[in-house]
């Protein structure tokens, strides 16, 4: 199956209020980032959390965010980045370019 995202694609993290164990922290939900790397396909941790150890794998990506778009911290420099691994079903495509506060 073809992957939905390529390196360099701009993405938005979905903000779903899903109960149970999820790997996506609240601070990153709804934020805009860029695909940095493809990590492979893994079983969905949300299924593994309830003992479901079969089924199709889900694509996992390493996604980069500009720190000063995440935190209200004046010390963060425009080049400071946060990299976090996010599963495919938590990402949507976006054409909005990520801009650090300094560029806005």
């Amino acid at each position: 199956m073809k992957r939905r995202f390529d390196i360099g694609d701009n993405v938005c993290v979905r903000s779903i209020d899903k109960p149970g164990h999820v790997r996506i922290p609240f601070y990153i939900r709804g934020k805009l980032g860029t695909i940095l790397q493809y990590c492979g396909r893994y079983l969905n941790p949300e299924d593994l959390a309830v003992g479901k150890t079969s089924g199709p794998g889900v694509d996992l990506y390493r996604v980069e965010f500009v720190q000063n778009t995440l935190w209200d911290q004046p010390d963060n420099q425009p080049q400071d980045k946060l990299v976090i691994e996010i599963y495919d079903h938590w990402l949507t495509q976006t054409n909005t370019l990520v801009k650090s506060r300094a560029e806005v």
Partner: protein, 110 residues
């Protein structure tokens, strides 16, 4: 809803920057977790254990150390899946305590 474990970005005050020793029992907890989760057994997945301590309730979660959380969550899931019973666990703990007590008594005689 944000879970009590999801603390990234919260105000944390001063963070202690000290290296804590990795205790022997903590290494055993991690070794058991690896055995329970490996590809041949698949008894408890890593994410299943995380789900365990993420549903402890905040008081219990906040009062336990990192490895105690993992240990307690593994016990909960082993009982939940009926791999062991609470009675078997209590009996095994009781037996170990008796062995340790008698070893302690013998060693003090030397």
């Amino acid at each position: 809803m944000k879970g009590y474990h999801d603390i990234g970005g919260d105000k944390a005050g001063v963070i202690p920057k000290e290296e804590l020793p990795w205790l022997y029992w903590e290494k055993k907890v991690e070794a058991i977790r690896n055995l329970l989760g490996d590809g041949t057994r698949r008894i408890i997945a890593l994410d299943e254990m995380r789900r365990g301590f993420e549903s402890f309730g905040q008081d219990k979660y906040d009062n336990l150390s990192f490895y105690r959380r993992r240990l307690e969550a593994m016990i909960d899931i082993l009982i939940e899946k009926e791999i062991i019973t609470q009675a078997e666990l209590d009996a095994a703990i009781g037996e170990k305590k008796r062995v340790w007590a008698s070893e302690l008594k013998n060693s003090s005689k030397i």
